[in-house]
Symmetry: C2
């Protein structure tokens, strides 16, 4: 279990008067290479019962609160200019002021998970200065922490353990179709550099607003794969995480003239473009990595927009992906009836759909599953609690990855079909 305690600066902090320490920290924030965890507080602190204590120093604040996905949500009605929408708003709890202006709150005991949180100081968001760990989701930064409540729970898979670690590389490739260099993130499993083996590939696509760093940062792909592979629960595989927004070369700050996160409209050209340009991704990967090629060694999966893209890629290239994962995002039935028939004519090893019961995408997901059932197309539906959130997508990846590349490849059917373009996407 992680210990977020400060172990190194106790001595130096003791020797400073509080005023000097505060000034020193203010100075060190900018002018010089900063000293280590600087607040003198431990936050968050995971307690023996898996409750978590949050601490924040601010003698002037009137109200200090913590908000995060470790708290139960509460439904809130939002009026979008007449259109009322119910949201599951994150919970908010008050910290209590103690001696020296140190505010504190202790949660209920928590399950193993990766959690996000922020402080609200007199109503405005403030990062926890005692915790250097942060994630960016589209345009929003939050602090994060992981917690293993019991051996083998999902929180454990998101943490770094003493197991062999794979490589995470940020790689640029040429896309002649999109006429630009583009960036992808590539996970190669431990041992890849040391042997001569060829590995199956999972192409893993982010959602609208995400980028090629989303699955590795928010999705904990490297930790999940390292841990699953070390336990023998997943086959060693290459995981390729391209940027699925056709008009973005790369993540904000990594691309020319892309400084702000952008939301790709799911009805925009993006889906068409990923279908047309995906061969650029695959040919780069197959040329530059030791790839075990072919239908039974190739998987595609994605979340939200990436789930819909994975669906469309399976329709567009029905002989390419022996494993397909649609996480909180699916294609439409209408216009794709013949396409899906071709997809299942190849007998995919796994056509996996996953969605949260509170997710707006669930209705279309269930509808597609029922249609598949009616057609006799063998697809799997994995239902979870909760909505359209990373907490679910990490679980779906953990479940999906364990199902990949384990069957003995059957001789692939000799059928060659022309690729079939499907036209429409759900919202």
């Amino acid at each position: 279990m992680p210990n977020f305690g400060i172990t190194n600066n106790t001595e130096i902090m003791k020797r400073l008067s509080l005023a000097a320490a505060v000034l020193f920290l203010a100075l060190s924030a900018m002018a010089q290479q900063a000293l280590g965890p600087g607040t003198g507080l431990i936050s968050p602190e995971i307690n023996p019962d898996n409750s978590v204590t949050f601490r924040y120093h601010n003698p002037k604040a009137k109200v200090v609160q913590v908000t995060g996905d470790f708290l139960p949500t509460r439904p809130i009605e939002v009026d979008f200019g007449g259109r009322k929408v119910i949201y599951d708003a994150p919970g908010v709890e008050d910290l209590k002021e103690g001696p020296g202006g140190v505010w504190e709150y202790t949660s209920a005991p928590l399950e193993g998970e990766l959690y996000s949180y922020s402080f609200l100081v007199d109503g405005k968001k403030v990062m926890d200065p005692s915790n250097v760990h942060q994630n960016r989701d589209v345009a929003t930064w939050t602090n994060i922490f992981t917690l293993s409540a019991k051996p083998g729970d999902k929180g454990w898979y998101y943490e770094v353990h003493n197991v062999p670690h794979g490589t995470v590389a940020h790689v640029w490739y040429d896309s002649p179709t999109l006429n630009s260099q583009r960036r992808m993130t590539v996970y190669t499993p431990a041992g890849y550099e040391s042997n001569k083996e060829h590995y199956p590939v999972l192409y893993l696509l982010h959602g609208s607003g995400g980028d090629e760093d989303a699955w590795s940062d928010l999705g904990r792909t490297a930790q999940i794969m390292d841990n699953l592979i070390a336990e023998g629960k997943a086959k060693p595989m290459i995981v390729v995480m391209p940027n699925g927004v056709w008009f973005n070369q790369a993540a904000p700050g990594a691309a020319v003239n892309n400084f702000q996160p952008t939301m790709a409209n799911s009805r925009s050209q993006s889906t068409i473009e990923i279908e047309d340009s995906f061969p650029d991704v695959m040919s780069f990967v197959e040329k530059h990595y030791r790839v075990a090629k072919g239908y039974h060694n190739t998987a595609v999966a994605g979340l939200s927009m990436g789930g819909r893209q994975s669906c469309m890629l399976s329709l567009h290239y029905p002989d390419t992906f022996g494993y397909v994962g649609l996480f909180s995002g699916v294609g439409t039935i209408e216009g794709n009836e013949q396409g899906f028939a071709k997809v299942f004519a190849y007998e995919p090893k796994l056509y996996f759909m996953a969605c949260g019961k509170a997710d707006g995408v669930m209705a279309n997901t269930k509808r597609l599953k029922e249609w598949f059932d009616f057609q006799g197309f063998p697809a799997t539906l994995y239902e979870s609690e909760g909505g359209h959130i990373w907490r679910n997508w990490r679980v779906y990846l953990t479940v999906f990855a364990q199902k990949l590349f384990k069957d003995t490849p059957k001789k692939q059917k000799a059928v060659r079909m022309s690729s079939n373009r499907s036209s429409d996407m759900e919202d």
Copy 2:
């Protein structure tokens, strides 16, 4: 020049009432995959005259300030329990409140540079919620922005341009000497994946409190190398950035049980350990990358503690590094007189020291340079303005990288010396 403008959410923001928008943003921060740049403000905005406008929304705040390295510093005396130290404190300027609780400040025109800043709201640090770009220096996060004031200035080298991009990989290797897996960051230049060439290697070491991500994140190594190589100003090379703190496997959060940044004491075992364990780094790199081996193809450089480590590595392995860079950190003369004689007996192509005039390390750097001059050892001293800061280290890398691997290799002397261990380091 970067434009930090918001281009995608204008329409949606217009359709929301302010109250609904604020609530929506609060919700999107946590519960769902968040919408793009969410504040509705442009901050920072780079103006045509290279002044920069900062904006922050908070109707309840009494004082909103901005602090950052774009402002002139001011000297401040800090009392460390009786020991008084003068620091260059970062400048602080007030934002002015305008309609709707939007605070604003516009700087003087700025030079091309990568700048860091934070807001101070009633005295407490707050990140700029309109700017997703942040850097972590040891335990301190700040917002960042880059600015190209004129073509070819240093700010230009820190930005992403339409040039071929190298790969940045986070790789684990075994260190038998330290009995652990350890993580390194490796830059391979554009084209590495596509050809069969062998490349010279620069080993680039971080400072105390840094880690294997420091040079790529704060040092902009990939951008600097991409741009220099594209202009033909630097030779294509591999840049290896290991973790130089022997008791840390990896950066905070990337290693087992390492959740907080740690400061390595420069008088600790760390220097000894890096000397003993450095062959583990080099043998991994030479085994797994296409390395042009040998004295004339191998450079080592580092900042602060990493500069001292580079000095000690050159002393310990005098026949290994044909190029040595000591950035704001050097070894001592005393005890190393014979060692330096051996170092220079190999006729290094470049023994480069760089330091800021306001840096506390300058005195020892100059003393070493004078001793080298007296001994007739050809070393270079690059003096810059300013102190012990990343702004200087990025410049030193930019200058140093252009001097590497350009000489035609002379036949290496047939002398083989036993490695010489040197004992002492400066503070």
